[in-house]
Amino acid sequence: MLRYILGRLLSLGLSLIVASLVIFTVIEVIPGDPAAFMLGLNADEATVAALRADLGLDGSKAARYVGWISGMVQGDFGTSYTYRVPVAELVSDRLWISIPLAVLSLILSTVLAFPIGILSAANRGRGLDYGIMGGTQLGIAIPNFWFGMLLVLVFAVTLQWFSAGGFPGWNTPLAALKSLVLPSIALALPQAAILARVMRSALIETLAQDYMRTARAKGLSRRQALLRHALRNALIPVLTIIGLQFSFLLAGAIIIENVFFLPGLGRLIFQGITQRDLVVVESVTMLLVFAVILVTFLVDIAYAIADPRLRRRA
């Protein structure tokens, strides 16, 4: 098991290095002179030179890359050109909205999807199964940001149960949580539909395995066999999807923040793009990619816990 974890850690490190190289290349190498790019066409030579010195662009590319990475590792994400404050500061405020939102949605979608998927698989081919499958088919087709707008229309505009957007801050935890309810439902429901379908098909596949027949021959009822033997085996493909969904939720969260006017990472990154603030864009994308890679790593560990056959392999 330790070997397995070490192996996964190694691959995590490698992925991070390659990913950071890709981002660095796109942001700092492809545009030619980032300083001139950030200032636009009308900037005069002196200002560009000043910004270049400011950003430390005079050194070699390799030195800049090393500087960027070692800064990131120490929590120094550079200084935003437009805000004139450290990016780390900008990010840390906004993380407290984006992370709770993504986690809340992931929990919500999993909690919804599991019982629905199990119910559907256990009643395969019956009316309930067809109903659930039809519902999930519709759920998959709904774009989460549009669903968010509909939620606003119904629950904020018409019923006035929730506010239409904005974030009151964590000083008032209940109000803060309440303002995340609609966004996380908007994010979670389409994902839950996908996850429920994966759960169902994974269960149906395991239900056809030989060991399910062995379990029945031992005297387990259909239901006991499903819960005791099929579920844990079906979990393995389901975990893969949960891992992949995290990156979709993260991306979705960035967009949903626009629907609900939440001052999260998404808003920061779009401001960075419109203001050509490459320092912000570079560091925030790296942070997003880091989150996805980290979750992949956690899913790999979860695999090994769920499936003893993996533990021996490095």
Binding site: D210, T214, P308, R309, R313, A314
Partner: protein, 525 residues
């Protein structure tokens, strides 16, 4: 006393079983024998009431004069695992891969509320000891055990509560012959000591002859004959029983002919696999699948290669066919070196027939396309019309019709597909035919006919065969000389009859001792 009375079964209106009746006695083994599709497994599942939902049954299965077919599902759950235990053919997939074997054995006790958690573990330990696994810890997972060990775990699970009936559906078919003998011994001991009734389902008459007190012969969903085993096997009243018996021990007539010069030779061949990957660029120690093997196949000869699964015979076959590179030694065929880079003309001279009649063909191609596939190996690729004529001739030669060439492979039975595979192998007029478990997946009667065909082709075309099989009976029937392979090495070789009559190496002796044999009943005329 467990009795089956006039059991009939239909799935989607199609009759699977018709009026099946037999009775089982505690402490006795009842054998149910038949070819694939005869309905023997369905009979077992009907007894357990584990049939597919669409199945409809009639008749009765009585245990203590209560008809199990009338019992509600909840009461059946209480009986399964408790009064009725069952084990299946494929031990590799019959256990839950993510649960320890201790928990899987203990579950039988816990599900029936017989024992608490700690007690159940003690009983599980005792049962695993009883089935011959005292050295295996309870917290091991199925993937850490061999096939034979897993089948023992399945048996421990099934007998944990000492059921009155144990059903074993082809329990040794997926196992090697030496492992089979051990599992059969274990089952025999359980019947004697625990006094349970054993319903043994098998396609192998020799296993039944060895194990069963009573036997029923099944054909197309009906029992055609039953009675005490020695009586049924010696009298063979029903023609189907006689046909099965004859086919099980069938030896095709072969014309002895003088052997010519060596055609295929291997000297000191090593074939190593790289070890499993342990990192991005690191690998573990290499596995020596073939370790210093030498062999010679002479013109007109039929050479057998026997060994159990994993002994390296498939790997050796691939090297001899020039599919894989060897790490040491040399292979030569028809006077030229064999390697993955060998010229097409040489490939045309050495062709192969594989085991699986279902996986041997691209399902999207027609027979003419399939059989003609090796034509490009020839120097002169015949023109289109010629090709169809030659394919037609090849199909005739293997006992099919030229008109079959416009059909798809799924339109043929397993035996017919093997004939198509032989036609494909013969299309380039090879000198050497490698038969890699070519009859192992076939029912006995089909197998006998394919063996006849192979013997006939050898006589007519002067072919040389390398016949690879795990099945000693088949090798004995068709080869002149035999080699025994174990763990990558040839441990013994010699004229077939001589090796079978007086095996020299202890491994060969063990193999022969383990193989169940049909008793030499006088054939009724």
């Amino acid at each position: 006393m467990i009795a089956v009375e006039n059991l009939s079964l239909a799935i989607h209106g199609e009759a699977i079983l018709r009026d099946v009746s037999f009775a089982m006695v505690p402490g006795r083994t009842f054998g149910l024998v038949g070819e694939s599709g005869s309905g023997k497994s369905m009979t077992a599942l009907a007894l357990m009431r584990l049939l597919p939902e669409s199945a409809r049954t009639s008749g009765a299965v009585t245990l203590d004069s209560i008809n199990l077919l009338d019992k509600p599902e909840a009461e059946m759950c209480a009986l399964r695992g408790n009064q009725l235990g069952m084990i299946f053919q494929e031990p590799m997939t019959a256990l839950n891969p993510v649960q320890t074997i201790g928990n899987q054995v203990a579950e039988t006790l816990r599900i029936h509320g017989i024992a608490t958690h700690a007690d159940a573990r003690d009983v599980a330990r005792a049962r695993l000891d009883r089935v011959g696994l005292p050295q295996i810890a309870l917290d091991r997972y199925p993937h850490e055990l061999s096939g034979g060990q897993r089948q023992r775990v399945c048996i421990a699970t099934a007998i944990a509560l000492r059921p009155r009936l144990l059903i074993a559906d082809e329990p040794t078919t997926a196992l090697d012959v030496t492992t089979q003998a051990q599992i059969l011994d274990l089952l025999r001991g359980l019947v004697e000591e625990e006094g349970m009734a054993l319903l043994l389902i098998t396609h192998d008459l020799a296993v039944v002859a060895d194990m069963a007190d009573h036997v029923a012969v099944m054909q197309a969903g009906e029992i055609v004959e039953q009675g005490p085993t020695p009586q049924v096997l010696s009298e063979q009243r029903h023609p189907y029983t006689r046909a099965l018996f004859e086919a099980s021990d069938h030896r095709p007539t072969r014309t002895p002919r003088p052997l010519g010069a060596p055609l295929l030779t291997a000297s000191d061949v090593d074939r190593h696999y790289p070890g499993p990957r342990t990192g991005l660029l690191r690998r573990g120690a290499p596995v020596k699948a073939v370790d210093g093997v030498s062999l010679t196949l002479k013109t007109g000869e039929s050479l057998g290669l026997v060994g159990e699964s994993g002994c390296g015979k498939s790997t050796l076959t691939r090297a001899l066919l020039g599919l894989d590179k060897v790490q040491g030694g040399e292979i030569a065929a028809l006077g030229n070196p064999v390697s993955p880079a060998m010229p097409n003309a040489l490939r045309a001279g050495i062709q192969v027939v594989f085991q699986d009649p279902y996986g041997s063909f691209n399902p999207r191609w027609r027979v003419d396309h399939l059989v003609a596939d090796p034509f490009p190996l020839l120097d002169e690729n015949p023109p289109r019309e010629d090709r169809r004529r030659k394919v037609g001739e090849a199909l005739l030669a293997v006992g099919l019709q030229p008109s079959d060439m416009d059909k798809y492979p799924h339109e043929f039975s397993g035996g017919q597909r093997q004939r198509i595979a032989i036609a494909r192998a013969l299309i380039t007029n090879p000198k050497i035919l490698v038969l890699d478990e070519a009859v192992s997946a076939l029912d006995v009667r089909v197998r006998a006919r394919i063996l006849d065909l192979l013997a006939d082709l050898q006589d007519r075309m002067g072919l040389s065969y390398l016949f690879i099989s795990h099945d000693l009976t088949v090798v004995r029937a068709i080869t002149d000389r035999v080699m025994v392979m174990q763990a990558g090495r040839i441990v013994e070789q010699g004229p077939t009859e001589q090796v079978f009559a007086a095996p020299g190496h202890e491994y060969t002796q063990a193999l022969l001792a383990a193989a169940p044999r049909l008793p030499g009943y006088a054939r009724p005329s």
